[in-house]
């Protein structure tokens, strides 16, 4: 009996061991990913389709919160175990670890993508990532509250000549708070990238288009900080966001604020989670000019990955017209591909038109400031701290932009040395 049991177990183990090479033939791609909405689920569908055509490839999706993305990737690279693929928002920050796609894909491939994405992926003549979607900052608003207050919100093309000025916008937000259940007018993301929308609307920028000059210390820069501080002083923006880290999404979803200054990436989140009120996207007010801020999401490979060929193959697949269209339509994203400028969204196509229109009128600095610039990545948190200190009235708006200029110049000098 014991002998038979021993033989059975040994046989099963041998069969198991023989099966290992079969499984071991599959290439497993580690894919670091973050999601703002449902795009993680959409990715899984796309991967399932890809695996049908490539049964020898499998994926290990490593999903992390956005603010932990770079930390996760750097830790993996430092540990000698880099991922094969990653979804990133600024490839330049990881440039020394990313795979140069000049030979495997070729720079000509970028001609398929909108120009605003090119500075993000081209670093020192190397193509380091493929653009997937573009993002636009913008305003999402509670239609019920504005209706209750009798305020008409500009959200159609016909109203483009009659957009709010900053002051009109602030007054409208105060009025809606007085005449609805909103406790505050506006939830504003705790992000220098979002704040910079006001900077560009004021006619300013952080750097010149070619990054040769630091331009933040200007009357326009000061005005942008001043207006932002004023929105806090008038209690239009609750101080609990920029001073207390309260989640602006939660404030808007729970009906505490009448508007949310965020971007198109919030659409699936709000589509799936807001049931208590009607909401939409509005045109932003006009400062000196109209402006949004362009951003993007990209997918990159890693130069020390053991599966570079398979990773490049997936990059080409994921960024192809049809697959990109499916990804952007299902995730409610703006496509980075020129030939996907008109997609069939199941929800909110009018909202996408507003975001696209806003991007189309944005100055080039609204993109170039946020494309890879090592000085910007170093001073990003300092920008935020200076705005916070202005809100706390520890420094004036003028001092804030002077500090930002000094920091930027000091980092540029440090980088050049």
């Amino acid at each position: 009996m014991r002998k038979r049991l021993f033989i059975t177990i040994t046989a099963l183990l041998l069969v198991g061991l023989m099966a290992v090479p079969v499984f071991a033939q599959k290439t497993v791609l580690d894919f670091v990913w973050f999601s703002d909405g449902v795009e993680g689920e959409v990715l899984k569908d796309i991967i399932a389709d890809y695996k049908e055509e490539h049964p020898d490839i499998d994926f290990n999706i490593i999903e992390v919160p956005y603010n932990e993305l770079n930390t996760k990737i750097k830790t993996m690279v430092a540990g000698g175990n880099p991922p094969d693929l990653a979804r990133v928002s600024n490839p330049g920050e990881l440039s020394s670890a990313l795979l140069n796609l000049n030979d495997s894909i070729g720079q000509d491939y970028l001609d398929n993508f909108v120009e605003s994405t090119h500075p993000y992926v081209m670093v020192d003549g190397k193509m380091l990532a493929i653009p997937i979607d573009v993002t636009a900052n913008g305003i999402i608003y509670n239609k019920d509250y504005f209706e209750a207050a009798g305020i008409d919100v500009p959200d159609t093309e016909e109203e483009l000549d009659d957009l709010w000025t900053w002051e009109e916008w602030a007054n409208a937000l105060e009025k809606v708070v007085e005449n609805s259940n909103a406790r505050y007018g506006l939830a504003y993301d705790y992000s220098p990238h979002r704040w910079s929308t006001l900077l560009y609307q004021a006619g300013g920028s952080f750097f010149s288009k070619d990054w040769s000059e630091v331009t933040i210390n200007s009357p326009e820069g000061e005005k942008a900080v001043e207006f932002f501080v004023e929105l806090h002083d008038r209690n239009i923006i609750p101080e609990s966001i920029w001073l207390g880290g309260e989640n602006p999404n939660t404030l808007f979803r729970s009906g505490l604020t009448a508007m949310h200054f965020a971007g198109n990436w919030m659409l699936t989140n709000y589509r799936d989670n807001i049931e208590n009120f009607d909401w939409g996207v509005a045109y932003m007010p006009k400062g000196k000019i109209r402006s949004s801020v362009v951003g993007g999401k990209f997918v990159a490979g890693f130069k020390d990955s053991d599966n570079k060929e398979a990773a490049v193959d997936f990059l080409k697949y994921f960024s192809s017209q049809d697959v990109n269209a499916k990804f952007c339509e299902d995730s409610l994203f703006l496509s980075a591909r020129k030939d996907n400028s008109k997609l069939n969204y199941s929800f909110g196509s009018d909202m996408f038109e507003i975001f696209s229109n806003e991007l189309a009128v944005s100055p080039p600095e609204a993109g170039s400031d946020w494309a890879y610039n090592e000085a910007m990545s170093r001073i990003y948190d300092d920008i935020r701290q200076n705005i916070v200190k202005s809100i706390q009235h520890k420094i004036t708006p003028k001092e804030a932009v002077e500090n930002m200029e000094e920091l930027a110049k000091s980092e540029i000098e440090d980088i050049e040395n």
Binding site: T71, S96, S240, G245, E246, D381, Q385
Partner: protein
């Protein structure tokens, strides 16, 4: 042969622990010390720059501001934790009703992770979603900016830290109190000593060894407090609750300057080492209380 085996056996028993200690404590510490003399963004190889990071550190006004803020935090947390845990231990060492229940209640926060504690206090103290402001509103009072005002945020962080650790040190003091022979108190009572005199001349001196452990451990823990503050205030408002450990994390993982962050870690190690030496010296000055 037997003598050789007897000699080597203790070392074999502690070897697994030594290996783990070496891999996870000693090696990273030595590597961190090496990195503090380099410029390293993690993605490329470290570049030796000598004392560059330390010079930058000493010349940085921001570093000294953060250090002084950290010292204020630590020297607030440690005495409050020490005093409160001792008082609770003295009360709960007596024969009072439901003392087991109270001991468990005060010890409970020790079993929670700092992240859970930080998130919980954030939700209690939040401006718009906090339960405390909700209760104040129900009572007809104005809400308080617990975490958006620099001063109140600092006080709340100190409070949350003390709340998280007092139970742990209370248990240490209870163990220390139970080690004091009862005959001392009996003799003191016969001699007519008051409760305060008994505490001053018997309890407090004989708790010296326990007190030293509590002070050293609570000081180290306060300097290292990261998770609770990270989730409770994220170092804000602004940077008013950003202490040395948060700044090390910021420099290492957000700015990407691992060398500079390691230099700060070395400074933290030196500060903790010096404080520990001072604490041991102060403790040894009084001699052994039993003598």
């Amino acid at each position: 042969m037997y003598r050789w085996k007897k000699k080597i056996a203790p070392y074999l028993f502690i070897l697994p622990n030594l290996i783990i200690f070496g891999i996870f404590i000693v090696f990273p510490a030595l590597f961190g010390f090496y990195v503090s003399f380099t410029e390293w963004d993690v993605l490329t190889s470290p570049e030796f720059i000598g004392l560059g990071n330390f010079i930058k550190l000493f010349q940085s006004a921001e570093f000294w501001t953060i250090l002084s803020r950290t010292l204020i935090y630590v020297f607030s947390v440690v005495p409050i934790t020490f005093g409160l845990s001792m008082v609770l231990a003295i009360i709960l060492d007596r024969n009072i009703k439901a003392k087991g229940f109270f001991r468990a209640i005060f010890y409970l926060p020790t079993m929670l992770s700092f992240i859970v504690i930080g998130v919980s206090w954030r939700w209690i103290l939040g401006n718009n979603f906090g339960i405390l402001n909700y209760l104040l509103d129900l009572a007809g009072m104005a809400p308080v900016n617990w975490l958006t005002n620099a001063r109140t945020a600092t006080i709340m962080v100190i409070f949350a830290t003390v709340w998280a650790r007092v139970g742990y040190f209370m248990v240490m003091f209870i163990a220390g109190l139970q080690g004091i022979p009862g005959v001392y108190y009996e003799a003191a009572e016969i001699d007519g000593a008051s409760k305060w005199q008994q505490f001053r001349h018997i309890t407090f001196p004989l708790l010296k060894p326990t007190s030293l452990v509590v002070v050293v451990l609570s000081t180290i823990q306060a300097f290292k407090m990261f998770g609770l503050i990270k989730v409770m205030t994220t170092g804000g408002p602004g940077d008013s609750t950003t202490y040395l450990v948060q700044e090390i994390y910021q420099q290492a993982f957000q700015v990407g300057d691992m060398g500079y962050a390691s230099a700060m870690s070395v400074m933290l190690f030196i500060i903790l080492g010096l404080l520990t030496i001072v604490q041991f010296k102060v403790s040894n000055r009084g001699g052994n209380a039993y003598e």
